[in-house]
């Protein structure tokens, strides 16, 4: 059995890691995954792996599985309102089917 869920993806500056994580926690999500990323956006190219004088220049990608669209919207709205005027960032949402996740699906599995 697969349990339908929403996957919210937020790509933003590493500087905001703790602040975004706090927003996700406060929204009541059971967890999230963070990856170091690089790439090209509308503002400029952001690469990782080059010697950089500070961490401000690297990007991260949050992936959050939420049970419903409401929670995902709540998180992305807050993140966008608080940070995306001044910081680089993008947020999008996908449909997902969770196959196995103890925390997410409950003790009996999905």
């Amino acid at each position: 059995m697969a349990k339908p869920a929403k996957k919210l993806v937020i790509i933003t500056e590493k500087l905001l890691l703790k602040k975004v994580a706090q927003i996700i926690d406060e929204a009541g999500a059971t967890g999230y995954t963070v990856l170091e990323t690089g790439g090209k956006g509308s503002r400029s190219v952001r690469s990782s792996g080059q010697p950089s004088v500070s961490d401000t220049t690297s990007n991260i990608k949050f992936e959050v599985l939420t049970e419903n669209q409401d929670m995902a919207m709540k998180i992305s709205d807050r993140v966008a309102a608080e940070f995306f005027n001044d910081y680089a960032g993008i947020a999008y949402i996908c449909d997902a089917e969770v196959l196995y996740a103890h925390q997410f699906c409950g003790p009996d599995g999905c």
């Binding site: 500056e13 500087l15 400029s44 792996g49 080059q50 010697p51 950089s52 004088v53 500070s54 961490d55 401000t56 220049t57 940070f83 005027n85 001044d86 910081y87």
Partner: protein, 400 residues
Amino acid sequence: MDFLSDFLARFGAQLQSPTLGFLIGGIVIAALGSELAIPDAIYKFIVFMLLIKVGLTGGMAIRNASLAEMLLPALFAMVTGIVIVLIGRYVFAKLPGIRVVDAVATGGLFGAVSGSTMVAGITVLEGQGLEYEAWAGALYPFMDIPALVTAIVVASIYTSRQKREKYLKNEKYLGKEEYIGMQPVAAGGAAIDQPVAAGGYSTSDQRSSGGYSGESGGSSGGYAKGPGGASSNRVKIWPIVKESLQGSALSALLLGLALGILTRPESVYESFYDPLFRGLLSILMLIMGMEAWARANELRKVAQWYALYAFVAPFLHGFIAFGLGMVAHYATGFSAGGVALLAIIAASSSDISGPPTLRAGIPSANPSAYIGASTAIGTPVAIALCIPLFVGLAQAMTGG
């Protein structure tokens, strides 16, 4: 003329020093498109090693020094940090095409201190045999933190005033001609509503100005008169100080200081930290050179005034600190090497702890502008030109 030829000879010798050689080498290979990449982790480790060594040296020296000697140089370091930001706000910001928040952030970054430049300066002082107080490295936080705090406070005052003015323009029912004094309002509506509006403003003004004077009193007294500012958007000083102290550079330096004062680290210092110091510094300079080239591209996207500021500022800031250092030299016998080091840390611009603090503290400022100006031009100028200049000046002025 003697002084000039003496200085030029020193400068020529400096060009052959490993410090500057590796910096230029880094710029050259980055410009040639080399694939050489030095991992971030190594960069961070080197910075940690160098600053903990400086901290240990300082800590061991403080054990034998009287704290009264440090008082005047530390005060002058604070004054320099604050003055640099105010120059950014009231001089640099007036240039055409410069946004005020960008100017304040740039001033803050140039007021803050670069660990690598300071370490390079210490190496030169030791190479020249110029005496300096070993605790002079401990002046770092006294300049760094006030500069960052001042920049963030000044920027917040400015942005909240901007917001307030925007709000007033949109707010029809408030008597805005009373507040701004130059926006005529249609007589009809305003006349009726004026008593209410005036009452509302006087209280909120008191509140906001009271808030600023209380909060910024610790770092500098000058903000009590800071006009405007929404009371809801107050600047909290302590989180900025905390963030600076928690940054990797200051943590390492302060840890080294504490260990130097409280423990007996001589054995590990002599066998490990001291011998590795110069070699690690050369790698750090290579990284700084590569970074400078990478950042130069970003700097091209912003106004050319940044390049000019980044070139002139290290000299100007260094001379301010040099002058204050000479006062301390005549007043309390602060050594010539100490004066040179104070000038060098004033000439430097932060590259490790400053950028993230400013990015978080002044989010509306453009990081390409201030980080680009600092890393691409400010730091190479400080290392290549200001270090030999101030070391030479200190030697000449004090007959050392």
